[in-house]
Symmetry: C2
Subunit: 680 residues, 2 copies
């Protein structure tokens, strides 16, 4: 009616006229304004708090008088006394519209809150998880109209929340009757809606209003580490993050050695499955303890992982993934009960979502990177590299996305390096070599100072330098190349040829001495010719994978490069490019995305539509198999040179002129082509 009061909601700007006496929550619902309510307007959940604005609002053409809303009622008073309402706040279900009014919906009262993923990124996650809480009042049992308690719960959820159908497993059914009676037929249920059209599953039920929250785990199940983020399914907040080593390491460091373990040992796959499931239970227990929440409140888990881990988690022998044609048992996304994975530490009815795999070597982790980095929405051509034991590589823009994986091996993580070690205190993580003096200076984990700064020795101590980690070795090789100590083919020069006593002969090759603490009983940290070869193999595989995608796409350069993976965050773009790990682009076009796979898992946890989105996107990605592509081998050999034998690096040349010595005394310095490639 034209004389009815006008209600304007901010920030949405939605507006409409409502009869005097209409509760603000009702007006919001009719206009489709995002205003939360768990209790369905009964004044007990306090989720629908709003802030009325008073005075002149010329923008909206409204003057709001002091009596625009009904006076505080008893429900609001009681709530305020018991828990306290912030000044200026009202309960949307209690306050009634009495005159024109402007109503602000604060962020915490919105269901579809937007959670900014990280400060530096424009990407936000809209909260719309698969599992949500619903408070309902169920009809009492009536022997003259006999129906089951579950059926009456379903009827209430339909009437109050428009939920079409529900289902409950036997463990839930066995607690349904006592909880309903304890709550005097008022209960809160956690409902999981995996797919539109499926019946919503009742994961948990509490008597009365449940106010202790609801949580999910986003788990990045890597070959080496298992990382989990405990996420509040209402606010999207990460309550705790924790990681543990993947206990499968004892069966094999890399994926292929785990596949062989399964091939050689009957039941080996089952051992590995049990080990990783145990580890996940331990992780879930620890993270719940750290966040001080009841682990029973963890009702969802999202996994991202590579295909071998995917199969081992699911209890499927990964043997087929070890040989062409690398057939996955299943590639689709999966929704299953936590019980099926023996995840006993969390709610027994918790639901697990596993992102789809892209191909036999390109897993759900790569799908998660695609979900997080969205190459398919990129205007310019982006190369996304998730660096780990295996590198997952995505190339694409709005028109088309391609993916492959490449067997870089563990060198980038400091494994199979003579002085290599994991990133831990004492490890050299950054290094610079003076091009003139050929002297090094470096930084170790656990100390902010460089080694040539005052007080470094005191802070670290002689025994404190224990080795070199992944980012350190990458920088060291690139610095050796820039200092003229390493030639394009990957040969280290002799002391004579380079003019520095730091080049030490070892058999027929030479090593570069970074630091010697043998006098003090410590180690000697060197970069050996073998180390150079290991890095060459890794970076050639990575580059060759990227090149293969570029070939497929018909381009010979990309617009930008994103380094993903926990390790990606520590690689210096300049050093990566000197090494020829990634194609030549302007240095400011190389960015780090942090743990993009983990972020993808978090997105799928917080927003159920994102699951459908990545399932669709994965179907559209062009899969490129590196293992049998002859051109991969060609690219691999050419990429063995540092930065590259044939591809020009003009952007790199503009900032760093690389010296061009040659330390080859045998006529051929490259043996990359003859080396055996590894996967995993």
């Amino acid at each position: 009616m034209p004389n009815d009061p006008l209600v304007v909601f901010t920030p949405s700007g939605k507006r409409g006229r409502f009869p005097r006496g209409t509760p603000v929550l009702t007006a919001a619902r009719q206009l489709g304004v995002d205003l939360d309510s768990v209790c369905g307007g009964r004044g007990i959940c306090s989720k629908c708090q709003i802030t009325p604005g008073y005075g002149e609002f010329s923008k909206h053409g409204v003057t709001v008088h002091q009596d625009a809303l009904s006076e505080w009622n008893k429900v609001e008073e009681r709530y305020d006394q018991k828990r306290g309402l912030k000044p200026g706040r009202r309960l949307g279900c209690q306050a009634q519209v009495m005159g024109d009014v402007v109503i602000d919906v604060p962020a915490e009262s919105q269901v579809h809150k937007q959670v900014v993923r990280k400060a530096a990124s424009a990407r936000v996650i809209e909260m719309d998880p698969a599992t949500k809480l619903y408070f309902v009042e169920v009809e009492e049992a009536d022997m003259h109209e006999p129906t089951g308690d579950l059926e009456r719960l379903a009827r209430a959820l339909k009437a109050e929340w428009g939920i079409d159908a529900i289902r409950a497993d036997l463990t839930l059914l066995s607690k349904l009757q006592p909880v309903l009676r304890k709550g005097k037929y008022q209960v809160t249920v956690a409902l999981h809606r995996g797919h539109a059209g499926d019946a919503a599953q009742v994961l948990e039920i509490w008597p009365g209003l449940h106010e202790d929250g609801l949580y999910g785990l986003a788990i990045d199940l890597g070959s080496t580490t298992v990382a989990a983020h405990l996420t509040d399914l209402v606010t999207g907040e990460v309550k705790a993050s924790s990681g543990i080593m993947n206990p499968q390491i004892r069966f094999g460091e890399d994926l292929m050695s785990r596949v062989s373990y399964s091939m050689m040992n009957p039941g080996g796959d089952k051992e590995m499955t049990a080990a990783v499931r145990d580890a996940i239970n331990t992780l879930a227990e620890e993270i719940a303890k750290e966040a001080e929440i009841d682990a029973n409140l963890i009702v969802e888990t999202v996994f991202v992982c590579n295909p071998v881990m995917h199969h081992l988690l699911l209890g499927i022998d990964p043997v087929e993934l070890g040989q062409a044609p690398f057939a996955l048992a299943t590639s689709s996304s999966m929704t299953l009960g936590a019980k099926e994975l023996d995840l006993a530490a969390i709610n027994p009815r918790a639901q697990v979502y596993i992102l789809p795999c892209i191909a036999g070597h390109v897993g759900a982790d790569c799908a998660a990177v695609a979900l997080s980095e969205e190459p398919g929405k990129s205007e310019d051509l982006a190369l996304i590299v998730d660096v780990g034991t295996n590198a997952e590589i995505l190339l694409g823009d709005k028109t088309r996305v391609l993916a492959c994986s490449s067997p870089t091996g563990p060198a980038f993580e400091g494994a199979q390096i003579s002085s290599g070690q994991r990133a831990a205190p004492g490890a050299i993580e950054a290094i610079r070599i003076d091009p003139t003096t050929k002297e090094p200076r470096f930084r170790v984990i656990g100390c902010d100072k460089w080694s040539d700064e005052d007080g470094f020795d005191d802070e670290v101590g002689e025994g404190g330098i224990t080795g070199i980690c992944g980012s350190g070795i990458i920088e060291a090789v690139a610095e050796l190349r820039m200092a003229g100590l390493l030639d394009e083919s990957g040969l280290l020069g002799s002391a004579e040829a380079t003019g520095t006593p730091r080049m030490i002969p070892e058999g027929r090759t030479h090593s570069y001495l970074i630091h010697d603490s043998t006098e003090h009983g410590g180690p000697r940290v060197t970069v050996t010719q073998g180390d150079i070869r290991a890095i060459q193999l890794a970076k050639s595989a990575l580059y060759a994978g990227a090149r293969l995608l570029m070939d497929e796409r018909g381009v010979d350069k990309v617009d930008r490069v994103v380094l993903a993976g926990a390790f990606g965050a520590h690689i210096s773009p300049l050093h990566a490019m000197v090494l020829g790990m990634i194609p030549d682009v302007p240095l400011d076009k190389v960015t780090s995305a942090g743990n993009a796979a983990g972020t993808g898992a978090r997105i799928a946890l917080c927003n159920v539509a994102a699951r459908r989105e990545i399932e669709r996107v994965v179907g559209e990605i062009t899969k490129v198999e590196t293992a049998i592509e002859p051109k991969f081998q060609e690219h691999f050999v050419a990429a063995n040179a540092i930065p590259h034998k044939t591809d020009p690096f003009p952007e790199l040349a503009r900032i760093v002129p690389l010296p061009s010595p040659s330390f080859n005394t045998h006529g051929d310095g490259s043996d990359g082509g003859r080396r055996k490639r590894r996967r995993g």
Copy 2:
């Protein structure tokens, strides 16, 4: 084309013209003729056998020449050599139409075979079980078009069988890859389709063509006994039937004592759940052994049971069923995995279907009776009584069906009877009392002769008569009434009043001596006044329940009575009516339906549409709660008299004139109204 050969199929009469060279199977499919094929026309499953007819078929207006079908091909020859084709048979997928032909489809080649339930009944079950076998050829894995094996299996099932979507649990996934490779990508799968629209679940997979059949169990889970029928899911044939005692008897003979056990003993419900699940596993193992099949081939189980057994089977504490308002945790039908019920003896992925419950006292067993006896399709008004420890009662016709349960107690089963025993060798199961001499003659289980026939003593021996079973005691009470030894109020007369020394004083009451073998160390079998009272209580409850439904329906007579339940088969209609167990109807209108609940379970096992049917029917049944209905008590008291205090029994009077003595020496012979009613 008008010149194409005409193909006429019998018995369907479907006909059409097809180009020369069309395989008979293809023609059948295009015409919608029911011709089976598991292998999809590859000539390996032999399910599509047909019999061509040759010569003049004036009925069809066709002359069939000897060359009407293509000659035997190699596939048929090989099949015949290997397994033998019956004379005159051809493989429908191999034989091609070359001229006009009449093709008979034998019953065993039809998918939707009709299984006659029992010879005397017109009711047939059309075979259309939820789980069926499908043979498919799956594309091999291709690393250039990477998809999972499950996804390629789904694609093949879609292309060859029109199956829209499938799903598989982790245990199936873990065997998918080896089985596909063992079968060279040809496999047979058992697919379960519970509900239209749901993805079909892969329950089992075998390499190549699986020819060892597929089975289901129809289980009637009673308070006292658990009966199972092992049914061939392809032919509908019952391969074996077996029963065991319900081990929950040790927690309480009747249902209410089990409910009290649960109330009084924390965890008591869990003990009872474990006991019954164990028993079902034992039963499944035994029945598979008896039928000589692999228990892993049992992929479906249907349960019918009363509400208390329903909850105890599911692991739900039945405590709410012991008190008003008798709320069920859930009343809907359920489809669940056998694993959820710990049914480890059968296929680990087997699916369980449990019929819906009608009300807190009217269970899935009553729903099964409704499915089997179809009162809702009856032209005349039928009263269906399933006699057991609880009686389930249905009253209805095409216009409306009503249901209730009535707590008859265990007297009808020979329990709580002084000389009572279960129906086993030595038990008196039938008895006649001479109205003039008052002398009894009887038959015992295990001997075909009556006790007054020559050779009876030799066959049975003195110690061979051990007691009286349910049908025996019912007959005895009715015979006593007809012989004038028992008056309408239920009092037994003295020796003086009746003129027979078989009436023996016991305190202030009298017993009738049927047989005395105490001289030979055997028992003395009598009918005591207490026994009469127990039977009166039981029959009053049964009759009162029926009357309550008749009141609700607004009638005072029914057109026919069906006695269901294993025990119903042994009750003589005449004696049941003399006793006043059932309302007065012409004797030929009382029929026995045998184990109607078990039959209902078999129907739901063999025909998935029947599940939807009974779910719909149950929703339309009017539930009547006897426990709190004041008129029930009124009917109960009036029904205490034998046959009845007030209701006339004109049909009975027409065939059996009942004497009308009165043995009441205290002014009131009835104490039925003061007795406490039992349930369960």
